[in-house]
């Protein structure tokens, strides 16, 4: 089955790619993720104006302008909050949030927890390269403890953050891992995540060839998940906590109803509200 087939009469992936040239380094994993976005958007059959890509700050957070959909490039770490407000006010839109590991897991960590917990119908794509690239190479929450840099000459000595386990524990309704070296794989998972109701979290291993050139070896390390996604959080937790970190695919698919307060038809007029104050 090909989940990426563009529905009849809908736009092709190329229609979602803007003509603005990315600032990324040659060989950056994010190019493939950008390509995957266009394929997934074509596959879900929505038009560019019906999609908003929201991001924070960092290399990967530059992605909205490279697409023809509406975009919102906000402040560092707050993309999930902006996207939550947008989706709650405009449930008709498809809202996808994108960013990196520093943006999402460090400065934006609290919003990550509460976005998972709130379960608004959003898709959150983190391009994780275990480094702050835009500021030229500092450790992020997913950086290995012994990775040395100017800011951490002896490494951080801190255990790494486990985004998938955190997402699951905090209540995300869909948890997946993908690898940028497999753009079609990313696109399939992304389309699946967008279609799935509630908060969908997709961690994409996306190498930084400039500051973490050793991540080129991820291509050899990744492998598809051996079993299909589970809807049992306990089983998903065991798999996520015990796998080798390169297990690709949808790892958890829940059925919690999304958080979406009703918007629309007023039951009262403003004059009705005013009467409550009148003597």
């Amino acid at each position: 089955m090909n989940d990426l087939a563009t529905p009849a009469g809908h736009l092709q992936p190329a229609a979602f790619k803007s003509d603005y040239k990315p600032i990324w380094c040659p060989g950056c994993g994010d190019y493939s993720v950008l390509s995957a976005f266009t394929k997934a958007f074509a596959a879900i059959g929505r038009r560019p104006e019906e999609i908003v890509v929201v991001s924070g700050i960092g290399c990967s957070s530059r992605i909205p302008a490279y697409l023809t959909s509406y975009g919102f490039h906000g402040v560092h770490g707050r993309a999930l909050a902006a996207a939550t407000g947008l989706k709650l006010a405009r449930p008709d839109l498809t809202v996808v949030v994108a960013g990196g590991d520093g943006d999402g897991y460090s400065i934006g960590g609290n919003h990550f927890l509460h976005a998972c917990r709130r379960n608004v119908d959003l898709t959150y794509v983190v391009m994780d390269n275990h480094v702050y690239g835009m500021t030229k190479g500092q450790p992020s929450p997913t950086t290995e403890p012994d990775w040395a840099s100017k800011l951490s000459p002896k490494g951080t000595g801190l255990r790494v953050f486990h985004p998938l386990a955190v997402a699951l524990a905090a209540g995300a309704n869909f948890v997946a891992r993908a690898f940028s070296g497999d753009p079609n794989g990313v696109a399939e998972i992304l389309a699946d995540a967008i279609r799935h109701p509630g908060f969908s979290f997709v961690e994409v291993l996306s190498p930084c060839v400039t500051f973490r050139p050793e991540q080129r070896a991820w291509k050899q390390a990744v492998h598809p998940a051996a079993v299909a996604a589970t809807d049992d959080p306990a089983r998903a937790a065991r798999r996520i906590l015990t796998d080798d970190g390169f297990n690709l695919g949808v790892l958890y698919r829940g059925d919690r109803a999304p958080y979406q307060p009703l918007v629309g038809e007023p039951a009262k007029s403003v004059a009705d509200l005013e009467r409550e104050f009148e003597l």
């Binding site: 908003v52 302008a65 906000g74």
Partner: protein, 581 residues
């Protein structure tokens, strides 16, 4: 006891005090509502100790024949249900020799700080009287006594109590009996504090807190998305909106922190829905980065700051006008924003509504500086006028030709594309950008966009609402916000001394309107700047942004005490006579 028979008063101030749980706030609210229904005006300020529950509490009431916007210089009566920690209100409840202290002799003597004022003590065995009426409580005896002293018709008090204590069921007869007993006991005092009849009233009056008024103003202004993070003293504004907003088709969401709440409203507004959040100083501090985003990305939002004592956690439940500087200058970069300040409890509705209109029209963030006094005080007020028209955001039609989100227009306002509309997709950006929104670090784009964002605010016609300008004369009192009511009273007293002075109460603080203030101060030789903070933040702002007359004097004090009419009057007379303050 001696009874005097002075002329009825046009304003009576009364403090109902007791330990938390003694029900003084309930009694105060019922008294205010009864006075309101009987045709008087008035307000009630809540003050309480730092304890979450069970601390000392004071309902500070002022009932008057005409609308009042501030507490009086001192209190005519202090009624204490008990004296537990009530001495802590000594500064907030100033008494004088003509005042009356009503206390229960079984609860011990009144604290020395109150007795030292020379006020007359009137014993009233509240607890014993309540005990004699099974099912009643001392606070209702106190309510009856207060109503009796002020001459508020008991029938009206009974009606209000019946309506608001509907659920009380069996206890209602006991409560009504307690009120009667209190009123009878106060009969010997009648006349001393009797109010003159109401001076005639508007057809439509409101009984409302500033927080409720601001919340309603937001809805009337078109706000349909609110993100909320609880913080004293703004919480009630959000709690008003939580059930009200869905009734008009809107959404309120509780955010995980203030960083989230402001980014949520930016996201909602980017999607085309007018959006607002409310907070206090600590929350505003957290929001400043995202306020800059709203400036740069040109997303309309409104933030109501219900100011409290600062810095840091400060004095959360008490008022202070000390967020002027952060509101005006608290953002990094050159970031033009709107800063507005309501100047009465009723005006919290109109000014918040106006803030929504301005934010929407100018695609910029607007900060509304309310404060704890406005927010948590409940007042009888004339119906605050609405702005009438709906807010107008200039949007781009679908398929707009050669669409540029940040086009350099004459007004500085560019049509805003709304997601869902085809052919105008763009990326809103906090990065500096060119006209199409594409990031740019070039000098030309930066200057052009800085100019544009400044131009749209500076060039707008704000109409007559920018300030309230009253009176004539060579001296002017310049103030804003909750000091306005006291300033107005001080000027009325000065007028009685044949000192003519003007009042300028600024409602629009940013952008500054130097030409308008210069016109308002034409012929003025001396200015008295009134504000409630320690450092003179409003004075510094005036000095930075406006040309002021040569003689400028500051009348200020930090919270939680209000700047009272007497303080302003004294400063005004000294200024007029060329004496030091």
């Amino acid at each position: 006891m001696t009874t005097t028979d002075p002329a009825p008063r046009t304003s009576v101030s009364l403090a109902l005090c007791g330990s938390g749980g003694a029900g003084v706030m309930t009694a105060g609210n019922l008294l205010l509502e009864a006075a309101a229904r009987a045709g008087w005006y008035g307000l009630m300020v809540r003050s309480s100790g730092p304890q979450i529950r069970g601390g000392e509490a004071a309902a500070l009431l002022r009932i008057a024949t005409r609308p009042v916007d501030c507490l009086d210089d001192q209190f005519d009566a202090l009624i204490a249900v008990d004296w537990q920690n009530v001495h802590r209100f000594a500064d907030e409840v100033p008494l004088g020799p003509a005042s009356v202290i009503v206390g229960d002799p079984d609860q011990g003597a009144a604290p020395e700080v109150f007795v030292a004022s020379g006020a007359r003590s009137v014993p009233l065995p509240l607890k014993q009287m309540a005990k004699a009426i099974p099912g009643s409580w001392p606070n209702m005896i106190a309510l009856g006594a207060a109503a009796g002293m002020l001459g508020i018709p008991l029938d009206t008090v009974r009606q209000v109590v019946e309506q608001s204590l509907k659920k009380a069921g069996d206890t209602l007869p006991a409560t009504l009996a307690a009120i009667d007993a209190g009123a009878r006991a106060a009969a010997s005092q009648s006349g001393a504090l009797a109010l003159a009849p109401p001076a005639g009233r508007a057809d439509r009056r409101w009984l409302v807190t500033g927080n409720q008024a601001a919340g309603f103003g937001a809805i009337r202004g078109g706000v349909r998305f609110v993100a909320a993070y609880p913080i004293t003293p703004a919480t009630e504004l959000l709690e008003y909106l939580a059930p009200a907003l869905p009734q008009v088709g809107g959404v309120l969401v509780q955010a995980e922190d203030e960083l989230a709440s402001i980014n949520m409203i930016i996201g909602a507004s980017y999607g085309g829905t007018p959006a607002l959040t409310a907070t206090a100083g600590p929350g505003l501090a957290l929001m400043t980065e995202a306020l800059g985003l709203a400036v740069a990305a040109e997303v309309p939002i409104v933030v109501v700051d219900v100011m409290r004592g600062g810095p840091s956690t400060g004095i959360p439940a008490k008022s202070e006008q000390s967020d002027v500087s952060i509101a005006l200058w608290g953002l990094h970069g050159d970031a033009p924003r709107l800063v507005l300040a309501p100047n009465s409890i009723g005006d919290c509705a109109t000014t918040t509504e106006w803030a929504v209109h301005l934010a929407e029209a100018l695609q910029a963030p607007a900060i509304v500086l309310s404060d704890q006094f406005f927010g948590q005080a409940r007042a009888v007020t004339e119906r605050p006028a609405g702005l009438g028209a709906a807010p107008q955001r200039l949007t781009a039609p679908a398929h707009a030709a050669d669409y540029k989100r940040y086009a350099l227009t004459d007004s500085g306002v560019s049509p805003m594309a709304i997601p869902g509309r085809a052919g105008t997709a763009y990326t809103a950006d906090g990065l500096e950008h060119g006209e199409r929104g594409i990031p740019s670090s070039g000098a030309g784009d930066h200057r052009a966009q800085l100019d544009k964002r400044q131009r749209k605010l500076a060039g707008h016609d704000y109409g007559a609402r920018w300030a309230d300008v009253e009176g004539t004369g060579p001296t002017a009192v310049v103030t804003f916000g909750s000091c306005t009511g006291a300033a107005r009273e001080a000027l009325a007293r000065a007028r009685a001394d044949r000192i003519e002075a003007r009042l300028v109460s600024l409602r629009l603080l940013a952008p500054a309107r130097p030409a308008l203030l210069a016109a308002a101060l034409a012929g003025v030789e001396r200015v008295l700047v009134v504000e409630q903070n320690h450092g003179g933040q409003f004075l510094r702002y005036l000095r930075a942004e406006y040309d002021l007359p040569r003689v400028v004097r500051s009348c200020r004090q930090p919270g939680p005490l209000p700047v009272r009419a007497a303080d302003i009057h004294r400063a005004l007379v000294a200024l007029e006579q060329g004496r030091p303050a």
